[in-house]
Symmetry: C2
Subunit: 191 residues, 2 copies
């Protein structure tokens, strides 16, 4: 999607450790008009798939999921990274390896919010190795729900997460696909 690629080129910053900082418009400060365009595009791509729920993971996925959900008129569920006293009762839990923090963390969703009758669209800001996505997929499978597809704003295709998702037979739509990235050459997109 040209709007996403252009914005990454204009405002993305390449940091240490293969980190692409897009916090001026996507995951710290949020450009709400930009996010609305992103949501509209996810709806265009998945509107014929019978999606009845959108699943994302806190924190930066939430805004994207909400803006997308408006077009589908379906609820959002966001998986939590830390178990607090506000979640009790039965939860689905999966472990995820963090890309930006050290070690593993628990990803949880209350069982009452995903069931076998759901057809879930997963939405997230980034896809790299796919660690968070693996956990979300595991939660959905644990609930016996269907996965309508995965919508990602920015994918680093050279890190393998996308190949893994597709190897599971899950439809993946990434709005910008980064094929390479470094401080001297900048960001290059696939296709």
């Amino acid at each position: 999607m040209k709007v996403v690629e252009d914005r990454v080129l204009a405002d993305g910053k390449i940091g240490e450790g293969d980190v692409l900082k897009v916090d001026s418009f996507l995951n710290h400060q949020i450009d709400i008009g930009f996010l609305c365009e992103v949501g509209r595009e996810f709806h265009r791509l998945f509107c014929n798939c019978g999606v009845n729920k959108i699943l994302t993971i806190e924190a930066s996925g939430i805004g994207i999921a909400c803006m997308t959900a408006q077009f589908f008129n379906v609820p959002v569920v966001f998986a939590k990274k830390t178990k607090t006293v506000n979640i009790y009762g039965d939860v689905y839990t999966a472990k995820a390896l963090s890309y930006t923090r050290d070690g593993y963390y628990d990803v949880t969703v209350a069982k009452e919010f995903i069931s076998s009758s759901d057809n879930v669209l997963i939405i997230d800001d980034f896809l790299a190795k796919g660690n968070a996505l693996r956990a979300l997929i595991s939660l959905i499978c644990g609930a016996g729900a269907k996965i309508a597809g995965v919508g990602i704003v920015i994918e680093k295709i050279y890190q393998g997460g996308g190949d893994y998702i597709k190897s599971l037979g899950i439809r993946l739509e990434s709005l910008a696909k980064i094929s390479s990235m470094d401080k001297t050459g900048g960001v290059c997109f696939a296709e």
Copy 2:
């Protein structure tokens, strides 16, 4: 706001430790139509205040802030509760006492996203003792920005956070004001 009060009465659950669970529509699963009404109401209340930025705190404030920001057509900034490698450079930091977790945590915002020219509307899901709000106000004051007001979906007025905010001369608008709450008597609203 009747829509919020009715929804709390219909779907809120009173848990242990004075916790009101609204995770079926507000802060785990999100009813996007409900959130749109909430955002529209915050806009109605604050549309003449010159708001140019909305500040919230991860995670459950983000969806509400995004749905509200659409009506204002201004960016959202969400403060982070944990410092990760994705935030580097200069940040404003404040400590907050957690209501649902044990102990204090750091609240941070990158300095580049709040400046002295900003007129900030703070949005959050809950106001009880106001611990998270105090931290957000501290961040905004540290940046020399103005506070246009505070918009809260559900306030527990008997916990004192609202009185503190108003004692600072800051306009507070809570869409549902809980005056008392217990498992036998249920939830009662002020006014």
